[in-house]
Amino acid sequence: MSDAIDRPNAPGSDSPATRKPVSTGSEWTFELIRQYDEEIAKCAAEFGLDTYPNQVEVISAEQMMDAYSSVGMPVGYNHWSFGKQFLSTSKGYQRGQMGLAYEIVINSNPCIAYLMEENTLPMQALVIAHACYGHNSFFKGNYLFRTWTDASAIIDYLVFARHYVSECEERHGVDAVEQILDSCHALMNHGVDRYKRPAPISAAKEVLRQAEREEYLQRRVNDLWRTIPKMDEDEDPITRKKRYPEEPQENLLYFIEKNAPLLETWQREIIRIVRKLAQYFYPQRQTQVMNEGWATFWHYTLLNRMYEKGLVTDGFMLEFLQSHTAVVYQPPFNSPWYSGINPYTLGFSIFTDLRRICEAPTDEDREWFPDIAGTDWVKTLHFAMANFKDESFIQQFLSPKVMRDLKLFAVEDDDQEDSYKVTAIHDEPGYRELREKLARQYNLSHREPNIQVWNVDVRGDRSLMLRHVPVNRVPLGKDTEEVLRHAHRLWGFDVHLESVDEGTVVDEYHCPHPPPLTS
């Protein structure tokens, strides 16, 4: 950014005397939405927000419920679980228990944002600033999204997936497809590559490659299983050290897609579709705090900038601030409304404080953030947005002031102790520990159990062995047997799961049989 740019939000950059609001009423029209969007876009450009083109779609509440229940996607394959989501959404909405999201935004190019027709004009402006410039620039700028998702291809891919699934339903029956999808969904969270960059998705290529892949896949699978057991050599299964796969595999769905002996080609394709979608959503799950925090920070900053420029009225600002306050409200731990840390609050607080640290650093800030304190805040915030995910973002940028403001404290729950223990609070000795603990809380691989493909008994009963590595002795939940049944449905042969903590098996699960009694 050059110095010639009128530095926004600098005191006295405009005097309220020059106020020429875009509108004064609260009813929106398409023309007004266009005008507001233009003005917001100008403000966003002042701050150097780089976005995909926007597509703003005005929809009704019913349509919002539809969008809501299909994970926000404009198209998707049919599945009962989306119907379940729809039923609970519409029930909640009809009873007035729950408001609908003001907006849904889709990581695509152009970036699609839904505005609800019920919203007032200030709400529409808020949503445009939040979604079309906040989230949008995050999608375009954050490294996870840049590396892992292809915004220009997702819609086409969804259309492809929908067609493919409905074709399968026609050919193989709704029930058969539903079963496969159920099982895939059960393993969806373990159907992503966490470290390897996936190939970009493309609907056109999918269709083209499908035929080739069909043949190729089947051949590969056959190769693996063709071996007729040769036990003549020194092939004692106990002493044999070589496992298949040689290295543990984290992507269960990928492994099953490529190696399950009995699956038909269409079933492999469906696994692939679910896997690809899981991969597409993976960055979102890792950046919730950052993404919402970033979007909230920018709707706040952009609309305040509009106010400085005299483009919106006091009444507009009051309504906007009321919504904004509701969004970033954090109920304390002992409130009946408490359900964990509000990602909007946490993200917004960190970004806001980051700006403060740049613009008006204290001694504490200089000590904690020597590289950042006093630097250009726009550049610093963009850097923070682009290069981190929730875990590392918190680890890097959660300041003592934010911890104090939110009054954070850490509680230890150990099943070997009779009481909870407060291990750190928002004080000088606690800051670093607290920050580390909170960061870990947002580490997805910490939130979800670590389960990998350990071995396949290629020469024996073809059983699949999964291995769970518990962290801090936390066992698997009660769904485990059920998920294993799904894994068994896909794999086609026995599936075993062992929890191995530091070399000893602490727990095992088997599908379909309980283990044979060994004496």
């Binding site: 398409f30 969007d37 233009e38 100008k42 976005t51 926007n54 597509q55 703003v56 779609e57 005005v58 349509q63 539809d66 229940s69 049919n78 599945h79 009962w80 679980s81 379940k84 609970s88 029930k91 152009p110 539903e178 059960a186 969270n189 373990h190 954090q330 304390p332 731990f333 002992n334 359900s339 964990g340 840390i341 939110l406 009054k407 954070l408 404290f409 850490a410 509680v411 729950d413 150990d414 099943d415 009779d418 009481s419 223990k421 407060v422 291990t423 004080d427 603990k437 909170l438 809380q441 939130r447 979800e448 801090n472 002795r473 936390v474 698997l476 009660k478 769904d479 485990t480 799904h486």
Partner: protein, 431 residues
């Protein structure tokens, strides 16, 4: 900036989730059917036409994923600290459930949400109620099998029976033909007559050689010949005749009449009647789903039968003996006078406690087999009694052997048995 494209999608379809919703209902149809079946018992009768709230245990619809269980060692960061300092110990709540998880929604009553509740519409309610269940022979009378026809006019034809002769149309045709055949000649006649008149009026030429006599004679002959010609054109000819043409169009039978027959003799208590009523209502609702128009005829009987309105049917009290055949005779009479089987699908449901005057039961059996069952789609008999069967039941068993497809009987001892019995009676016959 022009980068933003604003689209109004409000008119696009809003039922995108309909398929997914339907998939959900389909998947949990067993749960829903059970809930619906319970609701039928519970609800008051007039209340049967609305949706229903269904709840399914959450554990049945949960989508399982691998997740962490209770136990082990974990630390959670919470906001809103007030008085805690590092090292404080807090007692664990009873039951040992880790409260510090900070995730998972608690319901207002403090218990986990273990029911997933949602609404189904009245239509869905009825669909589930009647799912898998179809009246025998119900397959709506196929168009080709229809015995009733509508005749619709479809122009005119040159052939037909005298009864369908269209006089106006035929005479109009005759007139046209007469004009067509005679017109030229009549014109000629008029010309000749004009010439004749001219000749006659002209002063007689003295020259006998040029006498007009010959010419007049010739003209008069010609005129006479032509007139005779014209006269031979028939006033009406066979080719003039036009008959109204009708096409036979099959008339789909979309009306049904339902006969409710009930014994109201002294032995039938209000409880019996209520049970019968529920049965009739189920039948009515079921027919309503399948036919556009339904007439309901209520016949109650003790020793004699009477056609009554609904109110009287269910709620007025009578005493006396029982002669079932009186009701069957009345029903047959009503069918003959008002409900031609060609136009109506006839259903009948008879409810009784099984009492009958013994000599009457064979009469009933004969009436049914000879005159009623050939006319009706279906005849259902429910015997509402916890006791042993009586004469009528055994008589009806013989009827059932003869008409297995259109006659059925069942015994209901308890109101709670109505729905299962109803289902058994109308179970979808394997096609």
């Amino acid at each position: 900036m022009g980068m933003t494209h604003i689209v109004d999608r409000r008119l696009n379809g809003k039922n995108k989730s309909a398929v997914n919703r339907e998939r959900f209902l389909r998947r949990y149809r067993h749960h829903i059917k059970k809930a619906v079946s319970d609701a039928v018992h519970r609800r008051s009768i007039t209340d049967i036409e609305r949706g229903e709230s269904i709840s399914i245990p959450s554990r049945d619809i949960d989508e399982p994923v691998f997740h962490h269980g209770q136990g082990g060692h974990r630390e959670i960061v919470h906001p809103g600290n007030q008085e805690f300092v590092t090292g404080d110990r807090l007692p664990k709540p009873e039951g040992g459930e880790g409260q510090g998880q900070g995730q998972g929604q608690a319901s207002p009553d403090g218990e986990g949400m273990d029911e997933f509740a949602f609404q189904i519409t009245q239509e869905e309610f009825l669909n589930f109620l009647f799912d898998d269940l179809e009246l025998p022979n119900l397959v709506r009378k196929k168009l080709k099998d229809t015995e009733a026809f509508n005749y619709v006019r479809s122009g005119f034809s040159t052939q037909g029976v005298p009864a369908k002769l269209d006089v106006v149309r035929s005479l109009r045709g005759a007139h046209a033909r007469r004009l067509g055949l005679g017109g030229a000649r009549k014109k000629k006649i008029r010309e000749l007559e004009a010439q004749l008149a001219e000749l006659k009026s002209a002063t007689a030429d003295l020259d006998a050689a040029f006498s007009h006599e010959d010419q007049v004679k010739a003209l008069e002959d010609e005129i006479a010949r032509l007139k005779a010609n014209v006269k031979r054109i028939p006033f009406i000819d066979e080719i003039d005749l036009r008959y109204r043409q009708h096409l036979k169009q099959p008339k789909p039978a979309t009306s049904a009449v339902m006969f409710c027959l009930m014994d109201v003799s002294g032995s039938m208590t209000q409880m019996h009647k209520d049970t019968a009523k529920r049965f009739f209502i189920l039948l009515y609702l079921f027919l309503k789903k399948n036919y556009k128009k339904i007439d309901v005829v209520f016949i109650r009987h003790h020793t004699s039968a009477k056609e009554v309105d609904e109110e009287e049917f269910f709620y007025s009290r009578e005493t006396g003996g029982t002669i079932v055949s009186s009701a069957l005779k009345l029903m047959h009479k009503i069918i003959e006078s008002r409900y031609s089987p060609a136009e109506w699908n006839i259903y009948a449901a008879q409810a009784s406690d099984g009492d009958n005057w013994n000599d009457d039961s064979p009469v009933c059996g004969k009436l049914l087999t000879d005159s009623i069952l050939p006319l009706v789609q279906y005849y259902a008999y429910v015997e509402i009694t916890p006791q042993d069967h009586q004469m009528l039941w055994y008589e009806y068993e013989r009827v059932q052997e003869q008409f297995p497809g259109s006659f059925a009987q069942q015994q209901i001892a308890e109101p709670s048995e109505i729905y299962p019995v109803f289902r058994r009676l109308f179970e979808r016959k394997a096609a």
